[in-house]
């Protein structure tokens, strides 16, 4: 990836962001994602896992996360499945390979940076944003800590500072947004000794992944995970097995997550406009009926029943 390319791209993205209102509003309909967005391609058939986890270390370094519990030569961590948490924005898990038990698969887990993120659509204060560059970033200055993003995320990625009473934050991978802006590539992709993680334009990565599947059909499950899942993600995976066998969520639809609540939200204006008329109509109807029945007795009977009650307060 040349510098000039990147600069042109950044210039484009600034222009796009300035004029951005139109395309981003359109995203509700047929927006297929920022065209020049970056992505990451993890080739899980290349990851060695054992005695490595360099990506975890690099991630901790650039994000200033505690390295207290990090021991790269401790392979017992693979004995159970780990998830992302406030100290680990990425974790590598091991999965058995039924075809070749002696070479299990290692799968790096982190934020998928969805094209239309569930977290962003769920957030009531717009703390999450899909940047035109690709990363989904979080703004701690508006977050109220309802953790609906964590409920919404189909990949189970966002984590929370449960032991921080005053400044708790949602924590997740940023795809090294700061580094991308500085012209660098994400730390995990840079450090990976196996070149299992590739950074680039998402469309180029998809072409690259297709090419690998085509030239090594014996090596790969013929599917790029993330190309369409949850409406498409910036992070893509090449796998040797079906994604479900590698810990990815089961029965993940191709529809983007904002679609799931759109129907409900579009019914809101209908209730707001129809109910007042309906309810006031009912009120007028019930009033006219009472007047017709007995103009005064209704009023009186209500009052009598209370005047009759010697309901005196205790005081």
């Amino acid at each position: 990836m040349g510098n000039i390319n990147r600069r042109t791209f950044l210039k484009f993205s600034v222009i796009a962001a300035t004029l951005g209102a139109a395309p981003s509003a359109k995203s509700q309909e047929n927006f297929s994602g920022w065209p020049e967005r970056y992505g990451m391609l993890t080739d899980t058939t290349l990851c060695i896992g054992l005695n490595c986890r360099k990506c975890e270390e690099a991630c901790k370094k650039v994000n200033n996360l505690s390295r207290k519990n990090l021991n790269l030569s401790d392979n017992s961590v693979f004995e159970h499945k780990r998830r992302t948490d406030p100290e680990n924005y990425t974790v590598v898990n091991r999965f058995p390979n039924p075809n070749k038990p002696e070479t299990p698969y290692y799968v790096k887990k982190q934020c998928m940076h969805c094209d239309e993120p569930a977290c962003a659509s769920a957030c009531l204060v717009k703390a999450f944003k899909k940047t035109p560059e690709g990363p989904v970033i979080y703004n701690k200055d508006v977050c109220i800590g309802c953790r609906y993003c964590m409920v919404a995320c189909p990949f189970g990625i966002p984590s929370y500072d449960y032991f921080d009473a005053y400044t708790p934050q949602v924590r997740k991978c940023t795809m090294c947004y700061d580094r991308i802006q500085q012209g660098k590539i994400p730390a995990c992709a840079e450090i990976c000794p196996q070149e299992a993680i590739t950074f680039g334009k998402r469309k180029d990565l998809i072409a690259l992944a297709r090419e690998r599947i085509r030239s090594h059909p014996e090596r790969y499950h013929p599917h790029i995970f993330g190309e369409e899942e949850a409406g498409g993600t910036s992070w893509l995976y090449l796998t040797g097995l079906d994604s479900v066998q590698l810990g990815f969520p089961n029965a993940l639809a191709k529809t983007a997550y904002p679609e799931l609540t759109r129907g409900f939200l579009s019914a809101v204006p209908l209730v707001l406009t129809i109910w007042p008329v309906l309810l006031v109509g009912l009120y007028k109807f019930s009033q006219s009926r009472q007047v017709k029945e007995s103009p005064e007795s209704t009023q009186n009977s209500v009052e009598e029943s209370h005047a009759g009650s010697n309901g005196k307060p205790d005081n």
């Binding site: 499945k81 948490d85 569930a118 659509s121 769920a122 957030c123 009531l124 204060v125 508006v142 977050c143 109220i144 800590g145 309802c146 953790r147 609906y148 964590m150 409920v151 919404a152 189909p154 189970g156 966002p158 929370y160 449960y162 032991f163 921080d164 009473a165 400044t167 708790p168 934050q169 969520p249 089961n250 993940l252 799931l260 609540t261 409900f264 939200l265 809101v268 209730v271 707001l272 109910w275 007042p276 309810l279 009912l282 009120y283 019930s286 009033q287 209704t298 009977s301 209500v302 009052e303 029943s305 209370h306 005047a307 009650s309 010697n310 309901g311 005196k312 307060p313 205790d314 005081n315």
Partner: protein
């Protein structure tokens, strides 16, 4: 003591309004009741836990985790709390808008229950939110309009205001402010209409919150009809809660109610029981339309499927039929029993959606910690104490004798 400094009028006002005409000593003595001692013990546990929560974080008192971000506080305090506080809007709509005059005596207590219910939902939410002091942010700072939670936030805030307006005549009667009272009473119809709209939307929005988690919520509970399920079951929850709450009020504050009112309440209880039964039946049918629509029949014969059947038959259809039968027999006592049954059913549904059927396929399951439950019990206790404080002082169960001739809406 402030007595020396306070002017006689202020002292007189305090004694008559707050101490209900008693001296400090006799008032404090009157507080020594078994209920208050239990409440005191609950607070003695709950207040230190509150301190720990707000000094050491959510994790110090709860089992909430990265895998299970919502638990007992959301499932019980918020989801069940809002559903059961729907009594204010259902009785208000029935009485003011539909003209069902016989429900007049329960409107004020129901509106107070609704107002306090929502108020303490927000209090409970403050324990759950990471930064509760940012509660006004969705109204003032940053607008996440694509979020169902945004709608919930706005609506609960607006509805709290509406319910305060609806209840405020009682406060102004208590304070003897006739002009303000008669002005605010004119807002009643508008407030009731607005309240019904807000309730329709946020009750259903609480169900819609889970639409975004199709892979996490069990297929028998996940349905595009979740908003409708939550709305309809909240109506049933609200109605049965009015039955339950009025029963308790008439027992605890029996000195405030006349024999005639007792008789009236029996009629009302029977009517509400019949109504709740009809609503529950609608809800029962809808639940099955939901199963058919999602084509999730195959899940019924699994452990969680049996749990679903228990919820839908044991806690929706059973109380529905029981309430129908009891109201046909004119048995007020049995209707009250059925109401409690139905209330438990609404809570069970909210607990299922937010906890038991949520993350059902995950290895890391959530079980609440005792301190989460203790905090919830503390909040409910403070809610009951506030309700009692207000009912003892304000004209809620009876008509203020000085305002009998004034218009009520």
């Amino acid at each position: 003591m402030p007595e020396a400094m306070a002017s006689p009028t202020i002292k007189h006002w305090l004694v008559s309004k707050l101490l209900m005409g008693q001296s400090w000593r006799s008032y404090l003595k009157s507080l020594l009741t078994p209920f208050n001692i239990i409440a005191g013990i609950i607070l003695a546990v709950g207040l230190p836990l509150t301190f720990i929560r707000f000094t050491q974080g959510i994790g110090a008192v709860s089992n909430l985790s990265n895998a299970n971000p919502w638990g007992f506080w959301i499932g019980v305090d918020v989801l069940s709390g809002v559903a059961l506080a729907a009594g204010g809007f259902t009785t208000g709509t029935a009485f003011y808008l539909f003209g069902l005059k016989k429900y007049q005596p329960v409107v004020r207590p129901a509106v107070l229950t609704g107002f306090l219910g929502y108020f303490f939902v927000v209090v409970g939410l403050c324990f759950d939110l990471g930064r509760p002091w940012r509660l006004p942010y969705p109204m003032l700072v940053s607008y996440g309009v694509t979020s169902v939670m945004f709608l919930v936030g706005w609506h609960v805030a607006l509805y709290l205001t509406v319910q305060f307006i609806e209840f405020s005549p009682a406060i102004f009667e208590w304070l003897g402010l006739r002009k303000v009272r008669n002005w605010v009473v004119k807002l009643t119809i508008g407030a009731t209409v607005f309240g019904a709209i807000l309730s329709t939307l946020h009750q259903s929005a609480l169900g819609a919150l889970f639409l975004i988690a199709p892979t996490k919520l069990h297929p028998l509970w996940y349905s595009p009809f979740l908003p409708i399920f939550f709305f309809i079951s909240a109506i049933a929850g609200g109605m049965t809660m009015v039955i339950f709450e009025s029963m308790l009020s008439h027992r605890i504050f029996s000195r405030q109610v006349s024999p005639a009112q007792h008789l009236q309440l029996q009629e009302i209880t029977l009517g509400l029981g019949k109504g709740a039964s009809a609503v529950l039946f609608t809800y029962f049918c809808l639940k099955w339309i939901g199963v058919a629509h999602s084509y999730s029949w195959e899940w019924l014969n699994t452990p969680l499927g049996h749990w679903f059947l228990l919820e839908v038959f044991g806690f929706v259809l059973a109380p529905c039929l029981f309430l129908f039968w009891a109201s046909r027999r004119n048995s007020v006592g049995l209707v009250r029993l059925g109401a409690i049954w139905a209330i438990l059913g609404v809570i069970l549904n909210r607990v299922n959606v937010s906890m038991i059927a949520f993350n059902w396929n995950q290895t890391d399951r959530y079980v609440p910690r005792w301190s989460e439950i203790a905090i919830t019990i503390t909040i409910i206790t403070v809610g009951i104490l506030t309700f009692r404080f207000m009912v003892n002082r304000m004209p809620v169960l009876y008509h203020h004798p000085a305002f009998l001739g004034d218009k009520n809406h």
